[in-house]
């Protein structure tokens, strides 16, 4: 996370002039970064990706396996009731609200240190990264934990009873998931481009502002309408949860085929933008750790300083440009795939793009897992001590304040294999979803395969880019 400032400060001539204006966060939150994957592993992984792709084409199935029947089976009533019931629902909502409140309180009242304050590690590691694997495995857990949904339902029901309040507006259909895309971009910008993005107080204020916006939007459009389409984190984690074999339907917990959750994803406006931001922000975070970004960033920053910007804002502008450029690249790659499909599918570019957008979710998921695996495994451990001393004032609420990070828990080689392994698995999932959707849309295996060549190129591009970034990081 955000290694750029130190990279700039340390890269040669520019470093002499452009000293980061504040403490730099070189290596994650805890001062450790991953080694780049070695060239031999990169080569093997790239070869495996190509082989997997072509074998994938060879073992095509003939009728949709995910789209039309998802194989949903209810779990035993007792088990379902033990997990999904009003009490657990209330507890999860209370936990979510308590964690949001703790984050805001720590950020405002605690020491302003990225490592000694609860807020940065909780927001960037536990929440932003940790909920991704949880959603992939256990389904939409964030829906239960979502503090904004809980507040919206609570306040909404009180307001209804007290004043007969009902949301005055219907959620406009053209708005779709655009608010979520904007929210995710704002979060990515805060994390990757804004110079104060790690400051506990900045995170607290951002959380307060976001809470205000979300409550206002829920009051206007209704809690569920806003949560399911406009609220950035609900949309984000819900997309990942569609990979999961677990789902709740009509209040009952059941299992379905993994990935089949995408068959019910509504292709609303803004969904492509959400995925572009999801992939682009991780891609830029990875790219900013190595070549070519580290080579050009100091020159870009210097050019902006020459234009009259301060050192700090020049860096922010440079990083913002880098982030936007990355989003453009992601859009461009996907546009090539969509253009290829349109040779066969005569619908508009937008319709085709929305028809296949869910195939990018596994790519986004494995980007997160590959890039942040070590952050989760190492920095995630810090939450034990931070929970006991959230303000960094020497408390020991749960007796875990003295707990430290065990860096021996996994070695560099394990991290490499996890990174490469998940990228390849995500690639396969993306191909499977493409093929299945193509079968559903075009009816027969041949047409499906023809349309798929282009999306295959898209998947190969994303996967090899991911591998390349891992091989360039922290060189």
């Amino acid at each position: 996370m955000r290694p750029v400032r130190i990279a700039l400060a340390s890269s040669g001539v520019a470093g002499a002039f452009l000293v980061a204006p504040e403490p730099a966060l070189a290596h994650g939150l805890s001062g450790r970064a991953d080694l780049p994957i070695p060239p031999w592993l990169f080569a093997w992984a790239a070869a495996v990706v190509l082989v997997v792709s072509f074998v994938g084409l060879a073992v095509l199935w003939r009728s949709p396996k995910l789209e039309e029947q998802d194989g949903f089976r209810l779990l035993p009533r007792g088990l379902s009731r033990a997990i999904v019931n009003p009490v657990t629902e209330l507890l999860a909502a209370a936990l979510g609200v308590a964690l949001l409140a703790s984050t805001i309180w720590s950020g405002l009242a605690g020491v302003q240190s990225v490592r000694d304050n609860f807020a940065p590690t909780f927001v960037y590691v536990v929440f932003w990264v940790g909920l991704v694997p949880l959603s992939i495995v256990f389904g939409d857990v964030f829906r239960a934990l979502n503090p904004w949904r809980a507040l919206g339902r609570g306040v909404g029901s009180l307001a209804r009873r007290a004043t007969g309040w009902t949301p005055p507006f219907a959620y406009p259909s053209w708005l779709g998931r655009w608010p979520a895309a904007a929210g995710l971009f704002a979060f990515a910008w805060l994390e990757l481009a804004y110079s104060g993005g790690d400051d506990p107080s900045v995170l607290a204020v951002a959380a307060l502002v976001y809470t205000g916006i979300t409550l206002a939007a829920m009051a206007c459009f209704g809690t569920e309408d806003w949560i399911s389409r406009g609220e950035a984190f609900s949309v984000y984690f819900n997309l990942f949860s569609r990979i999961s074999p677990l789902a709740v339907r009509d209040g009952r917990l059941g299992v379905r085929r993994p990935l089949s959750g995408f068959s019910t994803l509504e292709p609303l406006p803004g969904t492509v933008a959400v995925l572009v931001v999801m992939i682009g922000n991780v891609m830029f975070d990875g790219a900013s750790e190595g070549s070519p970004w580290v080579d050009v960033a100091p020159d870009l920053q210097q050019a902006l300083v020459d234009l009259g910007l301060g050192v700090s804002s020049a860096l922010e502008v440079a990083l913002t440009l880098g982030l936007l450029l990355t989003l453009g690249i992601v859009t461009g790659i996907y546009a090539v795939g969509v253009a290829g499909v349109r040779a066969l599918d005569r619908r508009s570019t937008v319709s085709v793009a929305r028809s296949f957008v869910h195939t990018l979710v596994p790519i986004a998921a494995v980007y997160v897992l590959a890039h942040y695996f070590s952050l989760l495994v190492y920095d995630g451990q810090a939450i034990a001590s931070l929970s006991s001393d959230p303000l960094g004032k020497g408390w020991n609420l749960f007796g875990t304040a003295g707990s430290t990070i065990d860096y021996a828990i996994v070695g560099a080689t394990t991290i490499w294999y996890v990174q490469v392994g998940v990228l390849v698995v995500g690639h396969m999932c993306g191909l499977a979803l493409c093929h299945d959707r193509a079968l559903r849309l075009y009816g027969d295996a041949r047409a499906a395969a023809t349309s798929q060549y282009w999306m295959l190129a898209v998947m190969v591009a994303f996967t090899t880019t991911g591998l390349f970034l891992l091989s360039q990081a922290n060189q």
Partner: protein, 166 residues
């Protein structure tokens, strides 16, 4: 369910079976090609196929990219030598140094500083005070892997990175 029904490309599944064999053959040929390409990449890019080239390449890339202190560029297998990091005017001379070690090797370095601070080796979580115009020595075994920050704790300034490869 909201997947749009599309302009008709339906209804050709009768011809599917004969084609599958063709698709399979093409795919197998392509897979073999891909494997060959991969093997070529491995052989050409990876040298002797050992993980070592990663270190060597990274070192040479860093050497060309930035004018770093010569001392921080180890010879292929450094004899026990003590790295020196000099902090002048509160900043590392020549930018943050890069210390490279293999896992299990003995890490040893000294820091000479003209400002008083505390030197913190992250990951290993070793901290030692350094007095103004004084120096402090570290020596420990490289038993963790990764890139670790060495920081002047109070100034919150990275003075070196410790890179330990498997």
């Amino acid at each position: 369910m909201v997947v749009e029904e599309t302009s008709g490309v339906r209804g050709r599944s009768a011809r599917a079976s004969g084609r599958t064999a063709l698709v399979t053959r093409i795919a197998l040929a392509a897979a073999a090609l891909a494997a060959a390409v991969g093997l070529f990449l491995v052989l050409s890019g990876g040298g002797d196929g050992e993980p070592q080239p990663a270190v060597a390449e990274a070192a040479s890339a860093a050497a060309t990219a930035t004018p770093r202190r010569q001392a921080s560029m180890p010879s292929p297998r450094p004899a026990p030598m003590v790295e020196r990091i000099v902090v002048r005017n509160g900043k590392p001379v020549g930018g943050p140094a890069r210390l490279r070690f293999g896992r299990g090797e003995r890490v040893a370095f000294t820091i000479r500083s003209d400002v008083a601070d505390e030197v913190h080796v992250h990951g290993f979580d070793l901290s030692k005070p350094v007095p103004a115009n004084g120096s402090v020595a570290f020596a420990f075994t490289a038993d963790l892997e990764g890139v670790f920050e060495i920081e002047l704790e109070h100034a919150r300034l990275e003075i070196a990175e410790l890179r330990i490869t498997p």
